[in-house]
Symmetry: D2
Subunit: 340 residues, 4 copies
């Protein structure tokens, strides 16, 4: 498929390479939320109004029985802070910005112009006026939800700004913002998952476009460098000039080279066959085998690594859920001990 910069055909790549870019971004979103959890899963209990209490209490035991990892130690901070919530809303905002980029692509890829993907009817709507329409509504709404999640974050930041210690009722107004932001993000992820799983990507259309817009021109310039001894800047200029003239064949390249270097590339041994080899999309991709590159081998390695990371993330979540459910059992056992 064509890869894009500035939404212009840039260089050939593969769908797998393109989608792995999103996987890697979502993986960082997971990492952020996971780290936020260590600050969320702290127990404020025992702080009372902010000065703790004169009653003899055991804060550590309460935290343990409720499945928390640790205490929010200072009792005034325990009552006054909402940074753990702001952090989660911030992480979800970044996550939704990633979602909005993917949705933008799915919307554009669904157009009559591009046709790289067909979204399942379940995620599209028709029009009450236009009988022919199939609109990518779900992707559009998710794109817009980025705004609502960030709006929730904005509301929360504004409410917190400039509040003195310790508790102020302003903090109550954070609650609807927090729940709204979390709900919107959760629903969007679930929908995105199903929408991607049910989408039909069109490899033939992608392949058809992969070489358009002179997308292998960089490889041709690189070939002039590697095999014909030109400095990259000169090769770049010659190929660019030929593109402006409208074709990348030996005649046009020779004309361009003569204008720029006063000698032809044929004279250096370049043939039409060399050009065609360099412009071949699959060849160009196969060369890009550095870690994280689009060459099939590099992509395969990346997929294997990402699967391992996903498994590790799954394990982490399970451990956390188990800790909470274990604590719940202990809590019930302790309660029954007191009230047999």
């Amino acid at each position: 498929m064509p890869g894009f910069t500035h939404f212009q055909h840039a260089q050939p790549t593969t769908l797998a390479h393109h989608l792995l870019a999103y996987e890697q971004a979502f993986s960082r979103d997971f990492a952020r939320l996971n780290e936020a959890y260590t600050r969320v899963n702290q127990c404020p209990l025992g702080a009372a109004a902010f000065a703790s209490t004169g009653y003899p209490i055991n804060r550590e035991l309460a935290a343990q029985l409720l499945g928390f990892d640790s205490l929010v130690v200072n009792t005034m901070d325990a009552v006054a802070t909402r940074d753990f919530a702001l952090e989660v809303l911030g992480d979800l905002t970044i996550l939704m910005a990633n979602v909005s980029r993917l949705c933008e692509e799915l919307i554009i890829w669904s157009t009559t112009f591009v046709r790289f993907v067909e979204l399942d009817d379940a995620f599209c709507s028709t029009s009450s006026i236009m009988p022919q329409k199939k609109n990518p509504d779900t992707a559009e709404i998710m794109r817009a939800k980025t705004g609502s999640v960030f709006g929730a974050y904005t509301g929360a930041i504004l409410a917190i700004k400039g509040l003195p210690m310790s508790y102020n009722r302003d903090l109550q107004e954070l609650t609807p913002n927090i729940w709204r932001g979390m709900r919107d993000a959760k629903q969007s992820l679930r929908l995105l998952n199903d929408m991607l799983a049910s989408a039909t990507f069109k490899p033939d259309r992608m392949a058809e476009e992969a070489g358009k817009g002179f997308s292998s021109a960089t490889e041709l310039a690189d070939t002039l460098v590697r095999n014909f001894g030109l400095p990259f800047r000169t090769a770049h200029t010659i190929v660019g000039r030929a593109v402006q003239k409208g074709t990348l064949d030996i005649a046009t390249l020779d004309t361009a080279a003569t204008e720029i270097t006063a000698s032809t590339l044929s004279a250096r041994g370049l043939t039409q066959k060399d050009i065609e080899a360099a412009l071949d999309v699959r060849y160009s991709i196969s060369l890009r085998k550095a870690p994280g590159g689009p060459a099939p081998l590099a992509v395969k390695i990346a997929i294997d690594e990402r699967k391992k990371q996903l498994d590790a993330d799954d394990t982490l979540i399970e451990q956390r859920l188990k800790k909470v459910s274990d604590a719940e059992k202990d809590l019930m056992a302790e309660a029954r001990r007191l009230v047999p």
Copy 2:
């Protein structure tokens, strides 16, 4: 000093307990930025335009020589993502929200009404019209800077939203927002540090206010529970009624108790001396010795723990700086090996 909820005198606490609330919040800010660093300190080099390159490169070696911890593996993500910057701006926004709260308090504490602190002249200004003025300008500007940092974050989020892969020039507009947000936050922290170090807190004024506004009323209610067998809800109601009547002496409490329970507290053995003991500010504080509470012992333990955490954070920063400077040395050595 009086502790506040809803900015009303609430319960007595101490300045150390109050300031430790901020220290703990700033410590979480450090933790967030530290975790962000692991995502910032990844090397995108070798991604080229987004499809890596056909030249044989060694991405790991380049990353190592430049002092990075790891690679941004996928080369399209390496070019397209700015989430590491959004994350930092988000963390700085939360940090500045904490700064704004502390500044709000310093401003109010400097008023003629409160006089809990005198800020050093270096952080104040006078007025061109009013000869008597000493204004807490620095604290006010820092409070406002919260907005500028969040504005930088907002600008960055809006620029990112809905961008397709991979690079788009929109990303260039993030740069001034990132630098501005970081500069404002850095300057604010430096100023805050100096402003706090040079501020004169007024323990006598704090002590004078500590018991006002019936701030020990909770302790009195607790005493009725602990020593005189009342349910907390009843004790709370009686003390609340007495406060409305304007005094917390034995006569008023007995009247209130009679209205509510049809019997006096004197009958249960409560004396004026018991009341005075309960209302004693130092006594009330000394009872609150749970971890993170305001009792001097609990505060001492907290300070020791926080110092250890600060040392650990310092060590971490030093290690990170050392890693970068070591890499620089290796890089220069390698460069000299190539160009002796």
Copy 3:
């Protein structure tokens, strides 16, 4: 009462003058919303999907029967724009920022430190822990609502950014943001109105504080200029120096003047009586009779003018409501003519 800059006692003013500042700000909020209404009350009907329709329609008649003032003429714009809604949310954000400032003051004025106002119990809450508490919850929640309204605006802006023509489903996500923002603002205004109407202001406490913090020092400096021929900068410096020394009596002022000008003010004829006259709070206020100033006469004129403006605004609203209800009657009459 004392007027404040930087929340420090600055110069004496009156409660009426202080409250008129808010009235004037709210009046601009009304003007903005009123102007927005001319852009809101335009009829998009007849735009169909964005290209209008091949059926012979009469857009002007439809607009008139529905009570609109005019058409959104271009049919693509009619479908694609939401700027009228963004404008209203923007106007409500500014309005709520004004509300937040007034609420901040009511909260601080309710503290034990200040006691300038007592809010009615209906707008306060007590504490489940602390029996003595009366907290200004309603004012705090309204202060926080500023964030929620701005959050709604932020969500709407983010959803709109970068959308191509004409309709995109993203626009649907604006709707909850618009309604939420309008509902929060409307409720806040209604509550604010009732809260102010039921609040008890404390003129004695205000008067007690009016002269504190050397708040008439400016008037004293002005007196030195007007009656004793000093340049303002010199007078300002002498008075400022005397404030630092802690008193504004003739002895201290003479010492300060000697340090600065090498001659006393007594030598110029200044007496202790002149000083006391200048420092008199009521006298200082009475001099400030420029339009919009705090002198009782200026305030009276201002109140009369504001009342006229309020009446004009009321008339405008009534006309607008009447136009809508007249249109509804015409619409029903037309409908009955068609279906008798």
Copy 4:
């Protein structure tokens, strides 16, 4: 050209109709800023520290000599408010959101997929890696600037929120946000103007795409209603079904009609010629002649009206500029009268 909803080919329209949608939106932006000017162009002079002054001043004369339209009457409001600046930043945010939509379209229209426009080289960049690239950088940066302008507004709102009367140094931090927002918006408009003026639109490519994606299907359904007596819902369903089958010829429509209504459209007299007439793009457009519609006549009327509006706006600006320069002359004359 094709008009779009959900970025899918929807119905045929014309470039003029499409661009008029933006003109109308920008016209509202002008109206907003113009109304904001009436609140910006008010004179705060004479407010002094907030309580005006005891010196005998003439606020109206000062305002007149400085070219202001009126006073910010209340002197505390004059010092404390920044709503006039917030309003301008809000108006510029909406304006930039409109700019971002137009830029998004120019970027997409420049792609290899669409090719509706060729932006002048002066507004594009090439790539240091890819020799063939021509990237719409200016449009991308303007799209991103929407974020920076809104970021400036956000910073200003956050700084204002919760400030008590009257002046607080926080207000100083608004200044860089205000200037930055105004500068970014001004530069963007200037660039947009030049970029549009130098762009080459491609009517042939637009015409080629105008009828694609069954974009005249609505007209066909309307024809079935108008000329063959079908209810719109039935006509809509039949045409929609035929689109799913892949063609809009008489045979497919008859099959679809039979499935849905158990009778053919041919039986009602529909011929292949009727279908072709209905699907004709120019015919479809020519029917849409309601005010604001895409029919050439309606567009011509709209252009004439918009030109009149633009002239009126120009006159308004000239009057305002003249008022300021006249005031400047009067001011200099008065000054010379005092100091001959």
